[in-house]
Subunit: 388 residues, 4 copies
């Protein structure tokens, strides 16, 4: 049986996954947002919960914020709170889909006043980044239209570029803008940045500090996502991942839950293309725990990323190349499948214990009593959610 080498474990020790603060709040579908006992009431409690994930896994030292959901009086206080708990503040996500003014668009809106407002919101986000020490401004463009003719798609594309340029100009030297694409939802006819090609064209026109964000749930059925990973790494424009999984649309399920083999293939291309532990490529989660407990849901998620990375590291690249060059389809595929089917969990558990962690982080968390404590203590107030 193949085992992880020292080199592999060293790579795994460096791995870092950024958690989304909103994963700890309530979420749901258009039909219902169900509540969960112990849900945080404010960004400080979200950070506290995120810190639990890191405490048990040593995989999640960074927490991404979402503005305005995580607006606080003092970002410095939030930053110190995070650091006290052993984590730091990461990517700042903007939001241009919940203000009544944005009903028909924001950065691409035909009305200059509304574009100005949306641009200003992003400038505020960069102000916050300056305070939190965040590097990345992530823009998910929830804009589009529901009916053919509703908007002029071409004009919107040009206005979008113009708005992005104004935001880009405000970035500090060490800051970046990452532009997320999404196939559909909340708009149903057209989305202004529906695919990697559009995001690539838009960020390429901005400059070197603008990159593409790949959310694994934002593609048409049947899309070969690892191909896009390969291509964006090749083009030097893969800025970050939003990991999650899906059976149908943007289900935002736990990464690796729906198609673990796909996650494995994605991570194999990340490694192949030099994206692993590469500071240029941020690994983030973007998930919703609609019905399952949130902290355990995040623990499961980062472990899935770690375990699949471990499997992908096991691919025998030499044997693979030899089989490929011999046109031996079955042998080449077998090299890949052998790595995927290898059960790395026992070795990872032992390795965790060597590092002073619990071998089974999930069991350790559940035994810690934290979940019961927050369920009991967090009474009163308004549970955090998307404010939809």
């Amino acid at each position: 049986m193949t085992a992880l080498s020292t080199e592999h474990l060293s790579a795994l020790a460096q791995q870092s996954v950024e958690l989304p603060s909103w994963a700890f709040g309530n979420s749901g579908t258009r039909f219902r947002v169900f509540a969960t006992p112990g849900t945080p009431r404010d960004p400080f409690e979200k950070i506290a919960d995120a810190a639990q994930v890191h405490a048990y896994t040593r995989l999640a030292p960074v927490v991404a914020l979402h503005i305005p959901w995580d607006r606080v009086d003092s970002y410095d206080a939030l930053r110190r709170h995070a650091e006290d708990l052993g984590v730091t503040l990461g990517t700042v996500n903007s939001n241009t889909f919940q203000d009544e003014d944005y009903k028909f668009g924001a950065l691409a809106h035909h009305d200059a006043r509304i574009r100005r407002k949306a641009i200003d919101h992003h400038l505020e986000c960069i102000d916050i980044m300056d305070e939190t020490g965040s590097r990345d401004l992530k823009i998910w463009l929830a804009e589009g239209s529901n009916y053919p003719g509703q908007n002029d798609m071409r004009d919107r594309q040009d206005r979008l570029q113009d708005s992005l340029q104004q935001i880009y100009a405000r970035l500090g030297d060490e800051q970046r803008l990452v532009l997320e694409y999404k196939f559909f939802e909340p708009a149903f006819y057209h989305t202004d940045v529906p695919d990697w090609g559009t995001s690539y064209a838009q960020v390429s026109a901005l400059g070197e500090k603008a990159m593409v964000c790949l959310d694994t749930g934002h593609h048409a059925p049947g899309t070969n996502i690892e191909f896009i990973v390969m291509q964006l790494l090749r083009l030097g424009k893969l800025g970050s991942f939003d990991f999650n999984s899906r059976f149908y649309a943007d289900d935002d399920l736990i990464v690796g839950a729906a198609d673990p083999f796909q996650l494995f293939r994605i991570l194999a291309e990340v490694i192949r293309g030099g994206g692993l532990n590469n500071p240029e490529v941020a690994f983030m989660l973007d998930q919703c725990h609609n019905i399952e407990d949130k902290i355990p849901g995040q623990i499961r998620s980062v472990l899935n990323v770690q375990e699949m990375t471990a499997r992908a590291l096991l691919i025998d690249r030499e044997a693979l190349t030899a089989a490929q060059e011999a046109n031996d389809v079955l042998a080449a595929n077998a090299v890949v499948m052998d790595a995927f089917y290898t059960d790395v969990r026992p070795q990872l558990a032992a390795w965790r214990e060597e590092r002073g962690l619990a071998g089974d982080p999930m069991a350790a968390y559940l035994a810690s009593g934290y979940q019961q404590r927050i369920a009991e203590e967090r009474v009163g107030g308004v549970q955090a959610g998307w404010g939809a």
Copy 2:
């Protein structure tokens, strides 16, 4: 140019589309529900708005209710209110997806207490039907699971049948149960009634008063929906339509907006299979007007159904059969396309005027001042929505 015959117009004169009361309330996505001025605050105002659609089109004499969204103190009062406005109350839709108890299921839940509660909710709906004079109880089963293993799908199927039998037993002689199927959402891994086959198997086991409801937005990409229409009519189990349209998932857009040719093909199979103006087959809308005005959205919808029915009626069945029997693919297709491409709108406008209606119902409604009036008058209170 082919024109609609007297017989065609007579068929169109009988056509009736049932409006969903919830289309007049606010709706949105999981990201945001945008408000619209003039949105009804209660079921009485919803009925008033629905009556406007009928007044201008003479196509929509029935309004479907959704319980609990349309719960009122006196259904008799609601019924008289409707009748005063020229419409009647139709299908009663149950709701087992918004109570905290239903987080993990309702009619198929493993917990007998929750199943009992869900069954009782349906019995209450039948009580309401007795008061409103409604014939159909529509059950959209929003149940399922998000992760493999979360539930035992087989047990759920058996419990579902058991619950349905208890509901079925309470139906009056002239009442029916229609079971809607849906591919995915709000559950992301499995849905308890995901396809027509499952709905067909479930209702066939109940008896003659149980039928299938086909929502045009609830299928996998690429599904030939008119084939299912044909098959359910052939099997005698097509109880009702939920009309809407979609580009991607269950977008609930205006019927005919995304793929008018598909709507045409569906209506052609309805006519072919004897489903037009057949009391066994209810034509309903199930739509969301997230960003457009609601009353005009419904007017547009019923007109789309009427216009496409008119086009489908124009198919020259004799020429079609002749071409089919000659294996003349292009000629047969041309007969169908000729009907689809014929612009029936001028003739329909003239016919409307003959019947004392405005030739252009949309323009007439917009000119009536109703929209401005409700925007001004309906101030205060809480706008109706899904209560999600």
Copy 3:
């Protein structure tokens, strides 16, 4: 680490997968059929190759035939040839998609002469079954239409039922008819049996000896196939599987190659529903090895089925039920994932050796020299293919 119990191994020892004779011939896409050295020239050579798969795996004792591709002068001779090589002849597959007469249909054609010809072909297939001792007649209905209007779908459905009844009437007491459904291809607009619901309705109208065949590649994107497995087992109508895998359409790749987790879930439902080692449910492969070697491709396939069955057997049903009843989504999912992630291969290899087989059947086959031998010996003649 969980290990396979004696009971599990006993179940695995009984497992039997039926190989398709055509997998050993050449196949390809509409763009090209590439040749492979050593490809059989006749049914006898196909059987010889299939027997190799069984010799190394003890998993594939039965070979399915396809008529006319496997037409021989003496089926008795073919039967004895098979038995000499340690295998038997299985399901007979009919073919109504390659004769010029079938350009516009066969069993559902509007022309009675062509229907008669297609029915007679099936009667001939049953004659062959009598000689080969086969139980199942498998009908894949490649019929449909490419353009709306080309055919009357309803009439075709009725004629199909009539034709099937005539075929059904000829079945012996121990024989069965299994009806395969397929979403699309070779017809592009409509397929006469596009989904499990249609196959179920058609075979239910025939009688107890008619069952549904589920080909894992014949569904719309996003379809939850294990749900259909569950439902057909529940309804007592799952007659057989055609295993293969796909990324997009009916790719006919090696089973388990595209989405191993899906194969696992399917087999978990088979076990849950009593379909494992149940004579009512035939496990067949239906694959194309367009670019890879065929015998190794089949070895890989049956091993994939075995390994995934083993993983599915490892699901801790007691723990699963407990988690389900506690509504513990993550724990329930973890039980399932734990089984999936367990590497059963070492134990299976050891078990194989106990049974006198090579621990690594693929390596043993490749080392045997058979592949080189057939490549050298099978010179001249016409390589078998689909005759397309």
Copy 4:
């Protein structure tokens, strides 16, 4: 009723659609290629048939060639033959998917010898272009892999760029290279140029004479194709269309047959973006007439393009912009739908007659006796096809 203006008709008079020579040969699926009486036996006969389409429609003055299917001794003779019949020779399509050497790739193959061979094939195609006077070399890259691991996708991408550069260097000043992308088929796991983004990145790295070819059938389900049209026009990289239609995969049906409203939306974006009658944007058909007559199939296709262009021209741009700027979703959509629903056929028929053409080109062709003549005369020889 809106009517086409003089300006509209003038635009339509300039419209030119390029026909694919291979549409006149036999084609089919992997299951069967059915023959049709009268099918050409050589490129000269194909050109003759294509000329018929132009004679009756004045829409199709150019015929695209496919090498090697259209290899002839004298391209000059073929050119004169075409000109004698009133048409010219257009785009040259290369073929790197049918030689046994290309089983595992061509321009992206790891073997330098095979890449050289594939590059040389393209250089030969450019030689032919020099003789035929063709401007465009179209490369559809049928390369990819069927199984994860079979190939290194990244290396292939780099080798592809290198090969394309060598071909690009050979182009004359007035010649272009257009690179077609395709989602899947004949490769099932990965395609080397699967999406517009990859084609765009590849051709952008080549230079100004390299453009993207958009085949309307080569996208994932649910893709908004008109968005891509808009984007490529915006980026100045839309080189050509391959028109056809599809219900599911790359069905290659008659353009406009499956979703006429989609064709309309595509053409509306073409007009909006300046792509109509723009020499930079070639309109080609790429279709298969598997079961219908080929010449009438092509006549139907070019008429569909013309009729939809006419409808798209009718969009009242002023009213549309006004509605868009007022955020009047329904009014904006109504402007678009009004154009789509307008029956332009009578006016186009009258206009054709003014220009000395038959009002109904299909009827005129069918009455001409050409189809019967070729069916009778073209006896013996081998019907042209794909040589698959």
